[in-house]
């Protein structure tokens, strides 16, 4: 409607102007491109910069909230994982031993077979003959816990040498025995008058275990006078499987009379895990409260800023900017505060967890687990969502106001 000739002339004259101030143009190029492509984002960013201190404080609230949720979540997780590691495999183990009160002294092939049937494919069955003896080497001697098993790999791990798949000859010694008698793979140890070559030295145990390797000397079962087993250890694939197997063994062997005692720690371990889960949730809950408080501060700031900019918003609406565009602009502002806070909080919480690893005896492998990353990421996402939710109401209120009312002031 307003003549094209005029517009053309203006165009021609306007072009050289920015070129002559190229430095200024270069400086603002990024901002300009952003403005053209995402006007709401660019406008929101400038609005936040208008009141830097206020925006910074709102962001700080989210930083603290995200930091609290992420670090408390990770700390709870680390404590829980460390505990699980210390408790080791005992939750997965079932130990079947003869009930001496009932006059049963040992477990025969029939009992071992019954246990094997109960375990099925859900666990490995290791029949053990146990006893005590004195181990000698050179001039020194020490008391050893004897284990007789054909399959040492299921229960033990070697520090030196290799555990045989089928244990037929030689002795496997625990770390304390190896130290006391200065044994290495290939040395000779004398037990009950017989000499055995050391084929492997066991590793220190990582957690509790009913079959302690420290003072163990593991021999093939044929080396024992007894031909019946003194206990059967079942290494189940999970705590649940251990519980099922334990119940099954009881049913098979103790149905008519009490012949064996079955010992399973899985329920205790499950209880401990539940406790740590609760502790973790409680810590995260405390963190979440601080994040919600931060959300309220964003709500407050967005309310104040929309009231201050009432006329501006009114004029935007009057000259033809849609309600949804104004809504988007304001929600983007709140979300930007949230994203900045979430990123800041996530970075700080990674540093805090790094500090936890550096300054405490927490192991690296429980710090570098995917669940910890999930806590940090989850806290950041939660922070953004809280900001978005807090910005939604003021944005809705401001965008919904009729321009006439807003312009009246």
């Amino acid at each position: 409607m307003s003549g094209g000739a005029d517009g053309d002339g203006g165009d021609d004259r306007s072009r050289p102007a920015p070129a002559s101030r190229s430095a200024g143009v270069d400086r603002e190029t990024g901002d300009r491109a952003l403005y053209r492509r995402f006007p709401a984002l660019a406008l929101a960013w400038r609005n936040l910069r208008r009141n830097r201190l206020r925006s910074l404080l709102a962001t700080l609230g989210i930083v603290i909230g995200v930091l609290a949720v992420a670090t408390l979540g990770v700390f709870g997780n680390v404590v829980s994982l460390s505990a699980a590691q210390t408790l080791g495999g005992i939750g997965d183990q079932v130990i079947v031993s003869p009930d001496e009160n009932a006059g049963v002294e040992s477990l025969g092939p029939r009992e071992v077979q019954a246990v094997e049937r109960a375990a099925g494919t859900r666990g490995e069955v290791v029949p053990l003959i146990t006893g005590g003896a004195t181990a000698r080497s050179g001039g020194s001697r020490t008391v050893a816990q004897l284990y007789g098993t054909r399959t040492p790999r299921t229960l033990f791990e070697a520090r030196a040498g290799e555990l045989p798949e089928r244990h037929r000859q030689g002795a496997i010694v625990g770390p304390e025995i190896a130290e006391a008698l200065s044994l290495r793979v290939g040395s000779t140890v004398e037990i009950e008058g017989n000499e055995y070559r050391v084929v492997a030295v066991l590793a220190e145990p990582e957690g509790f275990s009913p079959v302690t390797p420290d003072t163990a000397v593991v021999l093939p079962p044929g080396e024992f006078r007894e031909q019946e087993f003194s206990q059967v250890v079942i290494e189940a694939e999970s705590g649940d499987a251990a519980e099922t197997i334990a119940a099954d063994v009881r049913e098979r062997l103790n149905a008519r009379e009490q012949r064996v005692s079955v010992f399973a720690l899985s329920s205790v371990v499950a209880e401990i895990a539940r406790f740590f889960g609760l502790l973790s949730a409680f810590l995260i809950g405390i963190g979440a409260v601080s994040l919600v408080v931060a959300g309220v501060s964003i709500l407050n700031i967005m309310l104040v800023t929309t009231v201050e900019r009432r006329g501006e918003i009114g004029v935007m609406r009057a000259v033809g900017v849609h309600r949804e565009d104004v809504l988007r602009l304001l929600v983007v502002e709140a979300t930007l505060l949230g994203v900045a806070g979430a990123v800041g909080g996530a970075v700080l919480s990674v540093l805090a967890v790094g500090g936890l690893w550096y300054f405490t005896p927490v192991a690296l492998d429980v710090v570098l687990v995917p669940t910890n990353a999930a806590y940090v990421l989850g806290a950041a996402v939660f922070g953004v969502l809280v900001s978005l939710a807090s910005g939604a109401y003021p944005a809705y209120k401001a965008a919904g106001e009729r321009p006439v009312e807003a312009l009246r002031g």
Binding site: M1, D8, R13, S14, L43, G320
Partner: protein, 260 residues
């Protein structure tokens, strides 16, 4: 604006219709050929203030013809701003009709009204209402920025109002007159058919006011209708035609009294 006057037989109206005032003479031929850009027909606007119903406008008939400049004058509280809000599709009358290019737009929804404002109407306000975080050029492009914003046109418009060297200045770096010229450029960015100005010189000194009014004159010369709501006599002088409102009704300025 007095089409229906003959039918009523009201002497005052009849006299006015035949009086060859400077503007109605030039406007008359258009009136028959094409509809007015904007028209209020028997528009009444009441506000429920809680303390009672206030009638801000009472049966106002008003036409804005293509390419004319019209001053709406009157004392405070006479309904000038309400008239402007109705003409600008910012508000709807309680009774009566608003027409845009002959189309009845009285009962359109907010979304459509927003679109029509962006397509047909330009606004200039007393307090300029520039966005402080946007440069002059961005302020001018603001009405269309969510539709992709034509920055080249914005720059051209600023050149046209004599601010070609202030494209990247922020409002805080501009004087009052410069701000108002930016606002005029903004009102033209959507190539409107009518520019509505609410006290455009209210915050400006005499010299600056004259420059701004010259700007409006140039706008009108491009074929854009200009409606100036004011109580500044200088503005009235610039306008081709003036309508006076008193207590929410159109007053007959020549007769010095109220019509109806």
């Amino acid at each position: 604006m007095n089409d229906s006057a003959g039918g009523t037989g009201d002497p005052a109206r009849t006299e006015r219709a035949v009086t060859p005032t400077s503007t109605s003479a030039s406007a008359s031929p258009d009136e028959r050929d094409e509809p007015s850009v904007l028209e209020l027909a028997d528009a009444t606007r009441e506000y429920d203030t809680g303390a009672g119903v206030v009638r801000a406008l009472d049966g106002v008939d008003l036409r804005v013809d293509r390419g004319e400049s019209l001053a709406v004058i009157g004392p405070s509280g006479s309904g000038k701003s309400t008239t402007l809000n109705l003409l600008g599709l910012l508000d709807a009358p309680t009774e009566g009709t608003v027409r845009l290019d002959g189309r009845d737009v009285t009962a359109i929804d907010d979304r459509e009204a927003t679109d029509l404002r962006r397509e047909f109407v330009g606004f200039v306000f007393q307090d300029f209402y520039l966005i402080p975080t946007l440069t002059a050029r961005e302020n001018v492009a603001m009405p269309t920025m969510f539709q992709g914003g034509d920055r080249g046109r914005a720059a051209a418009l600023l050149e046209r109002v004599g601010l070609g060297d202030r494209l990247d200045h922020y409002p805080s770096e501009l004087s009052g007159g410069q701000k108002q010229r930016v606002a005029i450029a903004r009102s033209l960015v959507n190539e409107p058919e009518v520019v509505l100005a609410d006290e455009p010189t209210g915050n400006l000194d005499l010299d600056t006011s004259e420059r701004v009014l010259d700007e409006f004159d140039r706008v009108r010369e491009q074929g854009v209708s200009v409606v100036l709501v004011t109580h500044d006599p200088l503005v009235t002088e610039y306008a081709g035609r003036a309508v006076e409102l008193v207590d929410g009704r159109v007053a007959d300025r020549d007769a010095g009294g109220t019509v109806e």
